[in-house]
């Protein structure tokens, strides 16, 4: 392959021309970068909201935030992190890397691709612009009913302000963005693979995006329907969710969780894909049990549609209903366990390269194990009656979505940013980032298991002294600031690395997949000639004759 290092624009173009270029681009790589930048900005905003929440809860009876502001902060923290960070950041990585990894020149529908980014952009803006509208009390109001938005609290009677309308419309746009992206990924992966790349030898990140896109396709309409019915209740006189007029608040819960449980897998399965890419490369050996890992994702996705009512064990469903959903929820631990054992077997006997992408991948596995085990506890209905809606659940979901998805996100940043920018990230800062984040994360979220078991409900803006909750909460708050420090270290790393500009080369890690066969950053057309693929780990197959030892680290 020829080097395209000279393809980097060296002369400064006028700002307006540059901006116009980005705004109108349909290039999957530029769109991918815009996704990642925007999602990271929202990650910081959502993180600052979390810091405010943690500060208010650092001790009993604090008055850092008034109750209304507290409710707005935890609502926006959840909504932002789920809908504007974790769900779309995988679309960001996938936009950049799915075409590269399958040897394509772009996504199947470049214009739709731009549309899904801009819907996301404006969805986020709409969500946050509700502070422009004044609600009751004559002060600016942000959405304040939790990311789950249960009616009747969100109906006009109890939420008369426009903030909930902004929340609904913002989510509508984010949902549409997600759906359009999913269709685009499916068509791209099915139709635009390089010659020789079979669907059964897809890189696992691409496979996981295929599975995730299918989940998005089947689940998101349910959220769209729920939001539309709620909007209609609020403004057009219907009463789908208003019990006084014959409506049913539980209908919302079913529709909402029929989306939002699969959404958990929409947020974690691409992360599992990243881990399945990183582990073999940094262990210098092929993934152990490709088929089991690949098909377990499909099982997780399918079962993910049969477990939604485990969020509703406390609404008084019949024994039969609860039995079904408990069984399905427990079974889903089986394919998850398969992945974990296969990942450990991949590491086993390897030659581990302990640079930051690998550190975060190992961090992912070890934290996700904890989230998985607390998930099994939650599937046990009577235990769920005790711990549901407490800080135990807050701990559980953060072990899955932070210990899982966010650790995978940083693994992906360290792994792929050199390809995007053309320069390496500093290993020293990366290690500091990892260890600070691991310690901060556990200090924040492990004590939440205990405060939950000691009876602390979630979403409360304050609590009385002397209930045994104070010290656990203080630990969580200290940990939250450590996490913030870790994110700061990451930003410093990016800044320092950008100043140093140590060239990454085409393939800094000895990668197995096609994105490492082109220059860093890749040229606009990705590949000078369409690569031909002979099987899984295509670059390693090129590199060594059948049966010889593994590829050596080239970095």
């Amino acid at each position: 392959m020829t080097s395209h290092a000279q393809a980097m624009p060296t002369s400064r173009r006028p700002f307006l021309a540059e901006a116009l270029e980005w705004i109108t681009t349909v290039d999957h790589k530029k769109i991918g970068i815009m996704y990642l930048v925007m999602n990271f900005i929202f990650f910081i905003i959502g993180g600052l909201e979390a810091l405010l929440v943690r500060t208010q809860l650092a001790n009993s009876n604090l008055k850092v935030l008034d109750p209304q502001t507290y409710n707005e902060m935890f609502t926006l923290h959840g909504t932002t992190m789920i809908f504007m960070v974790i769900v779309p950041i995988w679309a960001g990585f996938a936009n950049y890397f799915v075409p590269l990894m399958i040897g394509a020149r772009d996504m199947a529908f470049p214009r739709l691709n731009a549309l899904s980014f801009w819907l996301l952009f404006f969805g986020g803006l709409v969500m946050y612009s509700s502070f422009l509208a004044f609600g009751d009390g004559g002060r600016p109001q942000l959405p304040d009913a939790g990311w789950t938005g249960y009616p009747p609290l969100t109906t006009r009677l109890y939420s008369p302000g426009p903030n909930i309308d902004f929340w609904i419309l913002g989510l509508h746009l984010l949902g549409a963005s997600s759906l359009i992206g999913a269709i685009n990924f499916i068509v791209t992966i099915l139709n635009m693979r390089a010659p020789g790349m079979k669907i059964t030898s897809l890189p696992l990140f691409v496979w996981s995006m295929m599975v995730t896109s299918a989940m998005v396709l089947f689940s998101t309409p349910s959220l769209t329907v729920a939001l539309s019915l709620l909007l209609s209740d609020r403004h057009f006189g219907t009463s789908f969710f208003i019990p006084a007029q014959g409506g049913d608040p539980l209908l919302w819960q079913h529709l909402f969780w029929f989306y939002s449980h699969p959404a958990v897998y929409i947020m974690i399965v691409p992360g599992m894909g990243v881990i399945s890419e990183v582990l073999p490369v940094f262990s210098r050996k092929p993934l152990f049990g490709y088929d089991f890992i690949a098909w377990s994702s499909v099982f997780i996705a399918a079962l993910g549609f049969t477990v939604w009512a485990h969020h509703m064990f406390q609404v008084g469903s019949s024994l039969a209903v609860n039995t079904f959903f408990a069984t399905a929820s427990m079974i889903i631990a089986v394919p998850t366990g398969v992945k974990i054992f296969n990942w450990i077997a991949t590491i086993w006997g390897g030659a581990l390269d302990m640079r930051p992408p690998m550190l975060f991948a190992i961090g992912f596995i070890s934290m996700f194990i904890i989230g998985g085990l607390s998930g099994v506890m939650l599937a046990s209905v009577p235990v769920n009656w005790q711990v549901h809606d407490t800080y135990f659940v807050v701990a559980h979901l953060h072990y899955v979505l932070f210990g899982g998805s966010v650790f995978a996100m940083f693994s992906a940043f360290y792994y792929w940013l050199p390809k995007i920018t053309g320069w390496r990230l500093q290993n020293g800062w990366g290690r500091l980032h990892f260890w600070l984040m691991l310690v901060g994360f556990n200090l924040t979220f492990f004590p939440m298991h205990i405060s939950g078991l000691l009876g602390m409900p979630r979403r409360i803006y304050t609590y009385a002294a002397g209930q045994g909750w104070d010290s656990w909460n203080l630990m969580s708050t200290v940990g939250a600031f450590l996490i913030a420090a870790a994110v700061l270290v990451f930003l410093i790393n990016v800044y320092v690395s950008a100043r140093k500009r140590e060239p990454a080369g085409n393939d800094p890690w000895g990668g197995a997949t096609l994105e490492w066969a082109t220059s860093s950053p890749p040229p606009e057309h990705n590949f000078d000639e369409a690569p031909t693929v002979k099987g899984r780990d295509p670059l390693w197959l090129l590199d060594r004759p059948e049966g010889s030892a593994g590829k050596r680290a080239r970095a």
Partner: protein
């Protein structure tokens, strides 16, 4: 805020909470063993194979027998956990005959109302129950969704408007203090300050309490001085009190706020947040939103003079 003893799920004080506690401890042990095994494997592998030369890596693609084994083993463990789960679900929900005390818990923003339909008792913030008796609580809501939970006595159940959900508990321990409870389903601005308590008493004490609760208000003849003036003020429609509150056998029949008929017998006011002392009552009557911004009870700071508040509280103190 008044504090309750730590409402830990590890201190079960009812048959039902005891069964769930046993189930939880069993799952916790299984989970801890799994945790140690799997994290141990992971960290051993990382430690053993770190920073080796690339040539040392063993090039294997998988092992079907091994993979089937670690698919099947977790499945078996999970089936055992499911078995215990189903057994406990049956034990906790089973309907036992005989002596059942029926209570209705009604969620309001932001306090709990308790009704004993068989005993004609209406109270708030405190559920009083006799020890070793099956208490069946029918949970409802008049506004938004709430969650009803006392960790030491029973797992939570949601109050969903339009539905009646049920939870059952059989208290096994008399406690001189309270069992703390709290709303668990986010219900708006003062979700954090929607608390309540359960009081578990001996059968005899419960009978005494019930008899007390069934007595009517004393009427004008038992109050005198400031309390008499307070009574008159309370019952004057323009004072707004009776628009929301009920006092049995008077013209006060409001239903928005808590029934005040036997207010002095309760430990808490303001949704289980303030201790029921004359000072707190005065402060609450004067400016309730100062304690709970968003509460339905308005501020009367510019309506009543401090003397009138004193009179009102003197009257409320006669409601024993």
């Amino acid at each position: 805020m008044v504090s309750f003893e730590t409402p830990s799920i590890f201190n079960p004080a009812s048959f039902e909470a005891g069964r769930i506690d046993a189930l939880f401890r069993f799952i916790l042990i299984v989970a801890t063993l799994t945790f140690v095994l799997v994290e141990g494997l992971l960290f051993f592998a990382v430690w053993r194979f770190r920073n080796r030369p690339a040539e040392a890596a063993v090039q294997v693609h998988g092992n079907t027998k091994l993979e089937i084994a670690w698919t099947a083993a977790p499945a078996v463990i999970l089936m055992v956990l499911l078995g215990f789960t189903f057994q406990t679900m049956g034990e906790v929900k089973a309907v036992t005959g005989g002596n059942v005390l029926h209570v209705k818990a009604i969620g309001h923003r932001w306090w709990w109302e308790f009704r004993y339909p068989d005993l004609q008792i209406v109270t708030a913030n405190e559920l009083v129950a006799p020890v070793n008796t099956v208490v069946e609580v029918a949970v409802e809501s008049v506004d938004v969704e709430h969650g009803f939970w006392v960790p030491e006595l029973f797992g939570k159940v949601d109050a969903v408007p339009g539905y009646t959900t049920r939870v059952r508990f059989t208290p096994t321990e008399i406690r001189n203090d309270y069992y703390g409870g709290q709303c668990t389903q986010f219900c708006g601005r003062q979700h954090a300050q929607m608390r309540f308590a359960v009081v578990v008493r001996s059968a005899a004490e419960f009978q005494n309490w019930a008899a007390l609760m069934q007595r009517p208000e004393g009427g004008p003849e038992v109050v005198s001085g400031g309390a008499a003036a307070g009574r008159e003020l309370f019952l004057t429609p323009t004072s707004q009190c009776i628009g929301c509150h009920t006092v049995a056998d008077t013209t006060a029949v409001g239903v928005t706020g808590p029934n005040l008929t036997h207010l002095r017998s309760r430990g808490f006011i303001a949704g289980g947040v303030l201790a029921n002392t004359p000072e707190n009552l005065k402060a609450w009557v004067t400016n309730a939103p100062g304690f709970k911004p968003g509460t339905v009870m308005p501020s009367f700071a510019n309506v009543f003079t401090p003397e009138q508040v004193n009179d009102l509280v003197a009257y409320l103190n006669t409601l024993r």
